[in-house]
């Protein structure tokens, strides 16, 4: 089962190295990792998709991430309502004779042609992972030369009340937070 984690980190040199090094060192499987600046200067937000079927292992991932000094908070949104998106660019080598049929498949899949010419077409699409995979399948009848996927980014729906950000909470709350987290992974 895939685990989606939204991670707030200090935007410091080497932070990506620290995260990926931890995954490799602990032998956890990382599926995708997207990082970009957040609404707060100096803090980046990552979406990490891990692939560990076992709930205990998923808990290990969660707590090992949290243990990194530059990781500010980790939110496991795997089973929470959220918007998941991935962006893709696809390059197809095709002469003008194929353009209309490519355009049709593209349009039917809600994607868009962003460049045409000199024997190639570039298509862009944003959507859920499944839709992107479907688009690629439908285009596979053509001569696909390059695929560039961003990996998943995700955001929780609604006003988050339990933000998982333990910083702002009182010490007592923080202790309860840890207990709740432990129970959610290990005693379910």
């Amino acid at each position: 089962m895939k685990q989606t984690l939204v991670v707030l980190v200090d935007d410091k040199p080497g932070i990506l190295n620290r995260i990926s090094s931890m995954f490799r060192r602990r032998n956890f499987n990382i599926e995708s990792l997207v990082v970009g600046s957040s609404e707060t200067p100096g803090i980046s937000r990552m979406t990490i998709v891990a692939n560990e079927p076992d709930s205990t292992k998923r808990g290990n991932i969660y707590f090992n991430l949290l243990n990194l000094v530059n990781v500010i908070s980790v939110e496991d949104i795997t089973s929470l309502p959220c918007i998941n998106r991935e962006y893709v660019l696809i390059k197809i080598h095709a002469g003008s004779g194929k353009w209309s049929s490519i355009g049709e498949v593209t349009k039917n899949n809600g994607a868009r042609i962003v460049d045409m010419g000199k024997g190639s077409v570039i298509i862009e699409a944003a959507g859920e992972e499944k839709a992107i995979t479907e688009l690629i399948e439908n285009l596979s009848q053509f001569n696909i030369k390059e695929i560039m996927r961003t990996g998943k980014i995700a955001m929780r729906i609604g006003v988050s009340q339990d933000s998982d950000n333990i910083v702002s909470e009182s010490q007592e709350d923080a202790a309860h937070w840890a207990e709740k987290k432990i129970i959610s992974y290990f005693n379910s």
């Binding site: 060192r25 500010i72 202790a175 840890a178 290990f186």
Partner: protein, 584 residues
């Protein structure tokens, strides 16, 4: 951030030492070189306040800082230059990481303008060190120097302690800035430390403990680190629950206490492992269920509920599924727990354990009836000769396990050993470091003939510093623990385990320390006495039986209760049997 009152403009190099003074550092272990030269030059101004120990290798510096930290409970500091100086620290950092030892390592780096150009002696040490440190820093702005050093000490010693590396480019050391040491609370939003225990967790623990029929307490390194010795004894005495220790938990509880059973695990006491397998409740305090402790995880303590008290969230359910994970400092939790548990004595459970205790063959090697030295005998004699009141620093291998079995420790921080990483060459430098703690206890370094040769150059450091250490080399002419595995699991094919040694008495003489050789059991105590009278370092080589083994033993990955006992008959010539077994 608050400001300290004195305002002065200092160089980065001077700021390093000022910060160390603010952190109450009185001794550092290091080795100079190009990229750290400004810091060393500035040291001349601080010589009266900070003692610098010149090591013979940067690995030695890290182990010394580690040994100092483990003996004192303070943060140990090591310093080295860039490139090879920094990479030589890797083993020491990893050793400290695996054993949660608080050290701060400062390295020089090439100037900022040439970072990334493969400059002379440039290496990305803060990157290399990432997976083997609790945290690492590269300081690219002198304005961050003081606050980073302050933060580094805080990270090293709080929570689960560990090594922190600070890499400082040479030109940052040369720049100047007004020195302000931050005095306010460190702001690290992502650094989460547990606070007070939760009432419901205390209640659940009380219920489990009060209901248990065959409970056992585990005392790990966390008990030492949190200073919870008296609390764990109080728990044990009030609830009548016996205590088993891990290797690094040795000394956290007095061995002579009737409720202290001894060490668990691969070379632990057989009756302790049996008790673990039969237990219905484990109360694990500050330990991490290492594979050397558990054996086969599938069959590990199958009937027990498990309470796991640890300060590190990532330890829960890493190896063993626990029923009640308690994220808390051990001492704080036990203080809340102890008043609420019921008084009990578990008479029948303790009786069963004491019956298994009689079955053990482990101690028999002491009574070989021969004059040939056995490693176990030597260690038992060192225990006698020091009345058990010494800081013992061991290396890694057979002698390490024999020390754990035959030297009874009564007090915290009296056994210093590389448990997690198993770093050969650790003991001599760590022992030198421990001697700087200034305790009135003797320091005894127990080391094998393989291990001593890995860091033997630090003898020169010991002589130059005139430290009071006693080095006991247990020389069996083999890399003994590897040879033991070859005998047991590789049909006695001794591939590259026979190892020659220099004449250690002559080596001692050449380095300028007192050296003796002991081959007969009656010579042990007199030789020790002589060593104890030496002001400064002294060395004794004990020439022991080559083919001795450490028993009992749980083979790697085997069930914990499937221990291999010493296969010899108590009444016949043990030495002859040892030799026969070795060539079989």
């Amino acid at each position: 951030m608050g400001n300290s009152t004195s305002k002065k403009v200092l160089t980065g190099a001077e700021i390093i030492w000022e910060c160390l003074l603010q952190e109450k550092v009185s001794v550092v272990f290091g080795y100079p070189g190009g990229a750290i030269l400004p810091a060393y030059d500035a040291l001349t101004k601080y010589k009266d306040q900070i003692h610098h120990v010149l090591t013979r290798h940067e690995q030695g510096a890290t182990h010394m800082a580690d040994g100092y930290a483990r003996a004192s409970g303070k943060v140990g500091v090591a310093i080295a230059t860039s490139g090879p100086g920094a990479t030589n620290m890797i083993t020491g950092l990893a050793t400290a990481m695996m054993d949660s030892s608080p050290i701060v390592c400062i390295t020089g780096q090439v100037s900022r303008s040439v970072i990334g150009s493969d400059a002379f002696q440039e290496i990305d040490i803060s990157g290399i060190a990432m997976p083997i440190t609790k945290h690492s820093y590269l300081i690219m702005d002198i304005r961050e120097l003081a606050s980073t050093i302050h933060e580094a000490f805080y990270v090293a010693k709080t929570g689960r302690p560990g090594p922190v590396l600070i890499d400082i480019p040479k030109d940052v050391q040369n720049e100047s800035i007004e020195f302000v040491y931050p005095t306010s609370r460190i702001e690290l939003p992502g650094y989460y430390l547990p606070q007070s225990p939760l009432e419901n967790q205390v209640k659940s623990a009380v219920e489990l403990i009060d209901d248990a029929k065959k409970p056992i307490i585990f005392a790990g390194h966390g008990v030492l680190l949190s200073g919870a010795s008296s609390e764990i004894i109080e728990l044990s005495e009030k609830s009548g629950v016996p205590i088993a220790t891990t290797l690094l938990g040795i000394g956290s509880v007095p061995d002579s206490h009737p409720l202290v059973l001894g060490m668990m695990g691969m070379h632990g006491e057989a009756w302790v492992n049996r008790a673990i397998q039969e237990a219905d409740l484990i109360i694990a305090c500050g330990m991490r269920f290492d594979d050397r402790v558990t054996g086969n995880l599938k069959t590990y303590s199958p009937h027990s509920k498990k309470i796991h008290i640890d300060i590190d969230l990532s330890e829960f359910n890493k190896n063993v599924h626990v029923d009640l994970p308690v994220h808390c400092d051990v001492k704080i939790f036990l203080k809340a727990l102890n008043p609420q548990i019921r008084e009990n004595n578990h008479r029948s459970w303790l009786k069963s354990i004491s019956i298994w205790q009689q079955d053990s063959h482990q101690r028999d090697i002491i009574k070989t009836g021969s004059t040939t030295l056995m490693g176990a005998q030597v260690i038992r004699k060192i225990w006698e000769g020091t009345k058990g009141d010494a800081i013992v620093v061991t290396d890694v291998g057979q002698h390490q396990m024999l020390e754990a079995q035959y030297f009874n420790h009564e007090k915290p921080r009296t056994l210093i050993t590389s448990g997690g990483l198993g770093t050969m060459g650790f003991s001599l430098p760590a022992g030198i470091g421990a001697s700087f703690y200034g305790s009135d206890k003797e320091v005894w370094i127990i080391v094998g003939d393989g291990s001593i040769q890995m860091t033997i150059m630090e003898l020169a450091t010991a002589v130059q510093e005139h430290v009071n250490i006693n080095i006991a080399i247990i020389n069996n002419g083999y890399l003994g623990m590897v040879r033991q595995w070859q005998q047991m699991f590789y049909d006695a094919r001794y591939a590259e385990t026979p190892i020659s040694s220099p004449d250690y008495v002559k080596v001692s003489e050449a380095y300028g320390l007192s050296g003796q050789r002991v081959t007969h059991i009656d010579e042990i105590l007199p030789a020790m006495k002589q060593a104890q009278h030496v002001n400064g370092p002294s060395l004794i080589e004990f020439v022991v039986e080559q083919h001795d083994m450490v028993y009992p033993m749980v083979p790697s990955g085997a069930d914990l209760h499937q221990m291999i006992y010493r296969p010899y008959n108590n009444n016949s010539d043990i030495l002859k049997q040892v030799k026969e077994e070795a060539v079989k």
